[in-house]
């Protein structure tokens, strides 16, 4: 991927990736590596796995997610993230506006200039 494309993606991810994390947590609690793997399996959602962690910390401080510790069968205890009621509400709001937003973008991008 070119540096220009990466720069565009970095900008586009801002403000969107956190809702993708909230969306992944809708199905249940998940730990950091698990979230990184699930996001990373998509084409362009996550640039570097490490950038997920400042975001998770922000979500926790905004009380959109909360953390709990659970024993792991394969190693040390894991920090699990799960949605709070405020996180559910924020995700619902995002979902409501995302549809029209994407439609508008696609409409603008496909617009043919007749000038």
């Amino acid at each position: 991927m070119s540096a220009e494309a990466e720069a565009v993606l970095t900008q586009v991810r801002k403000g969107v990736l956190e809702y993708c994390v909230l969306a992944l947590l809708r199905s249940g609690p998940a730990y950091g590596l698990e979230l990184a793997t699930r996001l990373g399996s998509r084409q362009v959602l996550l640039g570097n796995e490490g950038t997920l962690y400042p975001l998770l910390s922000r979500l926790r401080r905004q009380e959109l997610v909360e953390t709990t510790w659970q024993e792991s069968e394969s190693g040390p205890p894991r920090r699990y993230y799960q949605l709070t009621p405020a996180g559910h509400a924020a995700l619902q709001t995002f979902t409501d506006v995302w549809g029209p937003f994407v439609q508008d973008i696609e409409s603008v991008l496909s617009e043919v200039h007749n000038d």
């Binding site: 730990y31 950091g32 590596l33 990184a36 990373g40 640039g47 570097n48 796995e49 490490g50 950038t51 962690y53 400042p54 975001l55 998770l56 910390s57 922000r58 926790r60 401080r61 792991s72 190693g75 040390p76 894991r78 920090r79």
Partner: protein, 178 residues
Amino acid sequence: MTKQTSVRDAMVREYLTDLEVALAGAEPIERAETLASIREHLEDSLPADASLEQVDQAIAALGPASAIAAESTPGYQPAFVHVAPNPTDWSAVMILAGGVASLFLIPLMPLAAILAVVILVAGIIKLRSKEGNRAMTKGGMVAAGLTLIMLLIIFLGLAVSMDVTSDTGTQEVSYQQD
């Protein structure tokens, strides 16, 4: 501990140190949580017998420390540092003014001498307290010291002239007796 384990641990330690430095300007709680989470991520993703290649890949997947730091929330950094103006040190002003005034009062010798001594004593007390405007205090003390020196010179001059006058008077009396 095998050589491979120690190299692997050193690689992880170096990455975490780089990350800690890169996150120096981040919001403190976010910095601590990010460091802890990435340590957990590496512990989780690397088996106990991970090869050096696996460690290298795990670190590469996390991304450069600078990229992670770029996504972090900046810590509180004041846009400017408010420097409170130095309050006027009135006692130092008084000492300076008193010292200078003593110079002007030299014609009134006893008053100038008393004022100069008072200023010198006040200056010494103030300098010992190690507070306030030391330059201004020292300026006042120098002026008071000059006053005392000049008064001393004048006093000695007067004493000599009075002595000469007294001698001349004695000689005149003795000449008249002769």
